[in-house]
């Protein structure tokens, strides 16, 4: 387990070098992810959103931090709680750059509105989309089910001699599934470039992590495969970024798979239908402490402390700790608001698929 140990000691290593632009972009991306969530809740109230919203509120640093550590050609597989990942991927290549290896905000809003210009032409809901071209694996609902697929992608890329890395996102609850074990075991033996990100938000629907996982950290599951398993502070985008960067490097160099656990907390219900119930099955101290370190605030504090941003600039937008009903557009950078607006405007005008499409594409002719 020497590798694992070495990697866990990296908290003391210097940060990976980020330019000032990177820092600011990361900060902005956190706002973007947060605003996406808040905006969707509003769109749901307006009746535009179709289906359940699985909020990633309070968990944005996990997505932004891990995705910022990737190359455009790397693969990812987001699941229900990772909706922003689809457009955050390779976002640094330009928010409106059609060449970037991520899905456009227009397409993503089409997806959540159930419109035909969604990546899957509105055939499957919420996060069940992807793109071969953009290197995003299409998931099913079956938790942990993307990990074997990711292993296959990683195998294929490795055989082609590419140094591409494949990243799967999973809730801590999903790590109980057989697919998790089968695929990571396989990837470990074959040293496949696959990183399993565990978003440990402490709850799997109504069940606390302690009811389904016996190890102190979920990342300890890595020990059963003798691969690195490290824990990041999921509220701190830079801690996530640093640790992810190392695992990415480790994978690129052919050393094989690893697990990155990001400790975070699910701010609201499992889905929006569960928002009211969630307060009943979760102790209020648990909720309060889980929500106490907003990733926006943690990032802001870091930028100020490191003199990357002055206090006034840093405090321009204060969406921290605000729920959808509390937050207003002033709390977010205009650029972020416009980006979402751009997506919503497009999606409103996108149509529904023709009924006949329901019968199409069962087979390729």
């Amino acid at each position: 387990m020497s590798i694992g140990k070495k990697l866990t000691e990296t908290k003391k290593l210097p940060r990976h070098s980020l330019t000032r632009e990177d820092y600011l972009e990361i900060f902005k991306q956190l706002f973007l992810a947060r605003y996406f969530d808040i905006r969707l809740i509003k769109e749901k109230k307006r009746g535009r959103l179709r289906g359940t919203l699985y909020s990633s509120h309070n968990q944005e640093a996990v997505l932004v931090g891990t995705l910022y550590a990737l190359n455009p050609e790397d693969w990812i597989s987001p699941i229900h709680r990772d909706m922003p990942a689809f457009f955050l991927k390779d976002l640094k290549s330009g928010w409106n750059n059609p060449e970037r290896k991520g899905i456009s905000i227009e397409q993503i809003i089409c997806q959540v509105f159930g419109k035909v210009d969604a990546p899957g032409r509105a055939r499957d809901n919420w996060s069940h989309i992807g793109s071969r071209e953009k290197k995003i694996i299409h998931s099913t609902s079956m938790l942990a089910g993307t990990i074997p697929v990711a292993a296959g992608v990683a195998l294929s890329e490795k055989m082609r001699g590419s140094d591409t890395v494949v990243v799967t996102y999973n809730g801590e609850g999903s790590t109980a599934r057989g697919d998790f074990h089968e695929a990571i075991n396989y990837a470990a033996v074959k040293k496949l470039p696959m990183i399993t990100v565990i978003e440990n938000n402490m709850w799997a629907y109504g069940t606390h992590v302690s009811e389904v996982c016996n190890t102190p950290d979920v990342a300890d599951r890595a020990k059963g495969f003798d691969i690195p398993g490290i824990v990041a502070d999921g509220q701190d985008v830079f801690d996530v970024y640093d640790k992810m960067s190392q695992l990415v490097e480790y994978a690129r160099q052919g050393n094989g798979p690893s697990i990155l656990e990001c400790k975070t907390y699910r701010a609201y219900g499992h889905g929006d239908h569960d928002d009211n119930r969630a307060d009943k099955y979760r102790p209020s101290e648990d909720v309060n402490s889980g929500r106490s370190r907003d990733p926006l605030a943690v990032c802001r504090e870091y930028l100020v402390n490191e003199n990357i941003l002055g206090k006034d600039d840093a405090n321009l937008y204060m969406a921290d700790n605000k729920s959808a009903s509390q937050a207003s557009d002033e709390d977010f950078p205009e650029e972020v608001i416009n980006y979402l607006k751009q997506g919503v405007d497009f999606a409103i005008n996108s149509g529904l698929p023709e009924a006949e499409e329901g019968g199409m594409w069962v087979f390729k002719e």
Binding site: R123, S174, G178, A204, Y205, G206, E211, E357, V362
Partner: protein, 333 residues
């Protein structure tokens, strides 16, 4: 108030009562599943049970369907009755091997030594925009796996009565609850205040008719009633049968009806090929061929997954219109 108010129970609460009563009656019985205790189930079917029966008898399981089914098998092996919930019936695929190769065959393999009083139940069915993984009716797989009983209630009375019967049955039962019926107002009804069951393996004639037999179960029953009304306007009286138990099938009730009507349309929302509707057609050929005045017909989902948005979903699932057209075609044959 002096006048007693009739208490009406919906489909979901009928199920809850069934589990509650059976748990109360048998202190060895256990309930297992994801989020069934602390949360009370994704839809609330097990709400409150953990408070009554404790964390062991009503147990939150890790997200691990093979393990849930295997655990049920093990507990049953030690003589316990088990209710195991699939959060959505779609996820039953993740516990498939333990179901078809272990649970289903245990009594057979052991030459009768070990019965398997296990009910696997969960929310099922389409028409709610649940898309590919929250809309399935996959009962065909299990009808094709010998050793399993397969049940699907369409009313609150049956929901309770069939579930109680299933929980008392010494055989494994895959129990399809129609989630779109859970809270349907018009399905609320006054249930008997005393213990009752609806026996497995008995279909029921919901409406009597002369000209055509409609055979269905689950949510499609309500489409069939509408079609029967439409046909009535056309001057045809339809007999409508609710199968309720798919395995073992009550052939008698179906064949008796066909002997009277000479025409049959079978309706279900599962994929067409090798689905249960086709099976009924085959049995009709085997048992009532000489009574047929028209080819036995089926109205099913297309051979596709259940897509998401309404126009797509409607295109692939049976509808009142499609069933009606199938009936007219059969009647005019």
């Amino acid at each position: 108030m002096s006048v007693e108010q009739a208490v009406k129970t919906n489909y979901l609460n009928a199920l809850k009562q069934a589990i509650d009563e059976e748990m109360a009656a048998d202190s060895e019985m256990i309930c297992i599943g994801e989020d069934i205790a602390n949360l009370g189930g994704a839809f609330g079917v097990t709400e409150g049970l953990v408070d009554k029966y404790g964390k062991w008898r009503v147990q939150d399981m890790p997200i691990a369907e093979e393990c849930i089914v295997g655990t049920a098998v093990g507990a049953a092996l030690t003589g316990r009755r088990v209710m195991a919930e699939m959060q959505f019936i779609d996820f039953i695929s993740c516990g498939f091997d333990q179901i078809v190769n272990n649970l289903a065959t245990f009594h057979y393999r052991t030459a009768g030594e070990v019965p398997m009083p296990v009910v696997l139940r969960g929310p099922a069915g389409g028409y709610g925009g649940g898309a590919l993984y929250h809309s399935q009716m996959n009962e065909g797989w299990f009808c094709h796996s010998p050793g399993l009983k397969v049940v699907c209630p369409s009313t609150s009375y049956d929901a309770k009565g069939l579930l109680k019967a299933a929980l008392r049955d010494p055989n494994p039962v895959i129990f399809y609850e129609i989630k779109e019926l859970y809270r349907r107002k018009d399905l609320e009804e006054e249930l008997p205040t005393t213990d009752y069951i609806v026996p497995l393996g008995k279909a029921t004639v919901r409406r009597s008719g002369e000209h055509i037999t409609l055979v269905s179960y689950g949510q499609n029953m309500y489409h069939c009633y509408q079609v029967a009304d439409m046909l009535a306007k056309d001057g045809y009286s339809a007999e409508v049968i609710d199968i309720r138990t798919l395995v073992p099938l009550d052939e008698q009730t179906i064949m008796d009806s066909i002997k009277k009507t000479s025409r049959v349309v079978v309706v279900n929302e599962a994929p067409r090929t090798c689905g249960f509707a086709g099976e009924v057609l085959a049995r009709v050929c085997e048992n009532a061929f000489e009574y047929l005045d028209a080819p036995p017909a089926r109205c099913t989902r297309l051979d596709t997954p259940v897509p998401w948005v309404k126009p797509l979903e409607s295109f692939v699932l049976p509808s009142v219109e499609k069933i009606y057209n199938t009936c007219i075609r059969t009647l005019k044959y």
